[in-house]
Amino acid sequence: MKHFWRLLPLSFILLLSGCGAENMSALNPQGPVAEMQFSLIALSLYIMIFVLFVVFAIYIFVLIKFRERPGDTHIPKQVHGNRTLEIVWTTIPIILLLMLAVPNVMDTFTLANTEIEQEEAEIEEENGEENGDDAPGSVSDQEAITIEVNAHQFWWEFEYKDYEFTAGQDMYIPTDTQVNIELISDDVQHSFWVPALAGKQDNVPGITNEMWLEAPEEGVYNGKCAELCGASHWLMEFKVVAVDQGTFDDWVDGMTEPPEESIEPTNEVAADGREVFEDSCISCHAVGDEGGQQGPDLTNYGERQVLAGYLDHEDEKLEAWLRDTEEYKPDNEMPSFSEDEIDDEEMDALIEYMNSLKVLEED
């Protein structure tokens, strides 16, 4: 970016970047926030490797040079100390730390400022007016959207505040748009982390925390809960799905007003499945406007990346999950359904129905 210190650790950026999965590594940043953090990581690493080099060099030299040799019985000179040296190794670290502290303080404020893009856009607009240039702003001038992320044991709820609907588990965002995130929790503390896009902030009960992120590239990014929240903490994953603006708009339309097929399926099996859904699921899970909020919204279940936050999206997995939720996610709130409650035929219908829950046009 535009600051000089970001160029300094360039060699290490080259060395480290590309480490790890593209959708889940802090070393392989996919957005401006993660990039900013990565360049700080690289800068600090750069300085620290210099420190390590100096210490190790003296250390190895000393151990070789001053080791006791056989037959050596001399008594070394008892040196008290050296004031100049003390000053040297007090001052140099302070300078090194200042090199790190200054960009850090600036970035800390940048990351806390969710209005940054608007400000930049406004500045550009003003500049544009002054120059008498009427051209519209660049792509990143898209107005920011706001998503309230409510973390639950052990799933994620995304409320799109600009559009008034709620999505579960998969967080769709438009590319090249600043996404402001408000973090809350109703049960215990969680932490919202999408390593490839942005460092984490905590979902703290009783407090609303803010952060922002942006994804220039389309893709599916892994997100995780990073704060111990109970037995299934390690399974509390989610996905951030970055799509182009057009697809995002379609998705928003579909989520606000789901296709008729999702509410009153024309397919006979799916219609049976809808009945099962209304009997057993709808009190906690919503499709469109209908349904409870205790569990994740299922309006776009058929397009989920994974089910239950981590299982492969397969019919057998879904059945196994519904039959015994405790086995797959210990201590979660969802009840299991035995064959007395949902027999095999009903189960097949339910799965058929659930797979049909899609809000985006098929290609």
Binding site: C19, G20, A21, S25, A26, A34, Q37, I41, M48, L52, V55, F56, I58, V62, L63, F66, R67, E68, I75, P76, K77, V79, G81, N82, L85, E86, W89, T90, P93, L100, N104, V105, D107, T108, L111, A112, L183, D187, V188, Q189, W193, G199, K200, Q201, V204, G206, I207, N209, E210, N222, K224, A226, L228, C229, G230, A231, S232, W234, P330, D331
Partner: protein, 610 residues
């Protein structure tokens, strides 16, 4: 005045009632070692579970209990007591005293620690250990089912009280009990750093006491401190915990620094380089240790101003720490370095700890910390400083002072196997964890998903943990097989400070005559510039010593019984327990005990035998 007391013949009774700082030191070491092994087993179980992705060796709930107990045990019940063991045994010897300032409280501190630690571990057998992490963040901890968290609260409260008492005891001992000539700026660095650590204990532990008290009131008596619906605030717990918790890591590392500052000069045959800078750096670290607690909370939403301030304050700690590292290196410079096992631990410490230190600075970068926080990067960092610093320090201290404490030297060959295997195992275990964290593995996970690319590095990490265990077993064996190495144990390393002037193990009154200290490195001074013997500061005469007493154990037992009463809310049990405790305190207060005198004839007899 004196009520002469002849030593009881019963060995067990003797240890239960002892107020001798050396015996209490050994008790601390034994107790700490027991919990160290326990915490180590917990770690190995977790490492086995993490060896393969989606492995099902342990259930997630069990895993959470293990990670909680591993952290709690290692910090409160292993590292700190083991350091207390050395502090108890060595500090009075180093300052030329015959005992600590409060022998009774010293014993009480040990028994409180032991009973608190055992109480905490009883939870394994009563329906589940605590499961909310050693940090016990609310509301996870305040809403945790079962009694596990109650055991955590009461167990830590009891053992924490013991630690606080111990801290006050060391402070007064160092200030009031020094031999003639032993000015503050002639004190060995181990005594100095233990003194500063005791200061940190004094000012840090009460914050934990209050945190635990509030959480106990919340869980057991309907308090609403952390209940958001009732106007509570969950962040208060985190502040209280870390106001204690961050100084706590300096409570651990400073005495370890002190041990290295004894070991390195001894085996370089050189005076510690920059003694006064070292003392000053210790004080600065202790002071800054209280200014940085919130760097554990960068992601909870304190706002950019607080984050920036705490980030810079945290970075500042690197400066005095760096001063120490360079002074150790310059102590070695120009010396005649002997690679004994004790010194190997000190030399292994320098690079290992520096690696932990630099990741510490990286973590202090608040904006980047959003990526590091709560990942394996943090796990790697604090194991590098706690194992590479504290545990290496404990092993260095063990090999260094073993002859003094037990009258025999540990086998050097086995010691070197122990060192190298442990060092390799340690780096194998924790180095890869830096990368695991950066690649997206969060901490405190019971497992990780297949296909996220964490499998290989976790496997390597577990292998390293096995290696460390094997190494430690070699050490345990060497304790029992080295007992014949009893020659040259009084001053085996050409020591520099006062403890090496005594017999090994020292007489129970330490010094027949209080030594006169004529400078820093008092014994070295007499050996190389005098006639090799300490000058006496007093004529040979009767020595006054405190009497043994069973009351400390009774007081501790009473508190433990009362703790069970609190955990299960059985009110009569609370009254019985507190009744025993206060009754014993009452007896202690009313029944004056003036100790006993060792007649000069007996001392002369000891001297002839020695």
């Amino acid at each position: 005045m004196s009520t002469a007391q002849t030593g009881s013949k019963n060995v067990i009774w003797d240890w239960l009632t002892t107020v001798d700082h050396k015996k209490i030191g050994i008790l601390y070491l034994a107790g700490g070692a027991f919990f160290f092994v326990l915490g180590g087993i917990e770690a190995i179980l977790m490492r086995i579970q993490l060896m393969f992705p989606e492995f099902t060796f342990l259930g997630a709930q069990t895993f959470n209990e293990l990670l909680t107990m591993h952290g709690t045990t290692m910090i409160f019940l292993a590292a700190m007591p083991l350091l207390f063991g050395f502090m108890n045994f060595i500090i009075p010897l180093q300052i030329g005293a015959r005992d600590v300032a409060f022998p009774f409280l010293n014993a009480l501190g040990f028994w409180l620690f032991l009973f608190g630690g055992l109480l905490l571990n009883v939870s394994w057998f009563t329906g589940g250990a605590p499961d909310a992490g050693w940090t016990a963040y609310v509301p996870l901890s305040s809403e945790s089912a079962g009694q596990g968290l109650d055991y955590y609260l009461l167990g830590l409260q009891v053992s924490g009280l013991g630690t606080l008492i111990g801290g006050i005891n060391f402070l007064v001992t160092v200030i009031n009990m020094r031999a003639p000539g032993m000015s503050m700026m002639r004190m060995p660095l181990f005594t100095w750093s233990s003194f500063v650590a005791s200061m940190l204990i004094l000012f840090a532990f009460p914050a934990l006491t209050i945190g635990l008290l509030l959480l106990m009131l919340e869980r057991l008596f309907g308090g609403q401190f952390f209940a958001v619906d009732f106007g509570g605030n969950v962040i208060i717990w985190q502040h209280l915990f870390w106001i204690f918790g961050h100084p706590e890591v300096y409570i651990l590392i400073l005495p370890a620094f002190g041990i290295f500052s004894e070991v390195i000069p001894t085996f370089a045959k050189k005076r510690l380089f920059g003694y006064s800078a070292m003392v000053f750096a210790t004080l600065i670290i202790g002071f800054l240790g209280f200014m940085v607690w919130a760097h554990h909370m960068f992601t909870v939403g304190m706002g950019p101003v607080a984050n920036a301030i705490f980030a810079v304050a945290t970075m500042a700690i690197a400066v005095p720490t760096g001063i120490k590292i360079f002074n150790w290196l310059l102590t070695l410079w120009g010396g005649r370095i002997r690679f004994t096992t004790a010194n190997l631990w000190a030399l292994g410490f320098i690079p290992s700890f520096v690696m932990g230190g630099v990741t510490g600075v990286m973590l202090a970068v608040s904006a980047a910390n959003y990526q590091f926080h709560d990942t394996y990067f943090v796990v790697a960092h604090f194991h590098y400083v706690i194992i590479g610093g504290v545990v290496f320090g404990l092993f260095a201290g063990a090999y260094f002072w073993w002859p003094k404490m037990f009258g025999y030297r540990l086998n050097e060959t086995m010691g070197k196997w122990f060192f190298w295997l442990f060092l390799i195992g340690f780096h194998l275990t924790f180095f890869v964890q830096h990368f695991l964290g950066l690649l997206g593995m969060q901490r405190r996970v019971a497992s990780y998903l297949e296909g996220q690319g964490f499998g290989d590095m976790n496997f390597v990490s577990t292998m390293g943990a096995f290696l460390m265990s094997i190494a430690f077993i070699i050490f345990l064996i060497s304790i029992f097989t080295s007992k014949k190495n009893t020659e040259n144990v009084n001053d085996p390393w050409d020591g520099r400070s006062l403890e090496w002037t005594t017999t090994s193990p020292p007489l129970h009154y330490n010094y027949p005559q209080t030594p006169l200290v004529r400078g820093l490195d008092a014994f070295w001074l007499e050996k190389y510039e005098g006639d090799g013997r300490m000058k006496a500061a007093e004529p040979l005469g009767d020595i006054h010593m405190p009497n043994p007493t069973i009351l400390p154990i009774v007081i501790s037992l009473g508190l433990t019984i009362a703790s069970f009463g609190f955990i299960y809310l059985v009110y009569w049990l609370i009254f019985v327990g507190l009744g025993i405790t206060f009754g014993a305190m009452f007896i202690r207060s009313v029944k004056e005990d003036h100790g006993h005198h060792i007649p000069v004839d007996e001392i002369k007899r000891d001297l002839e035998e020695g």
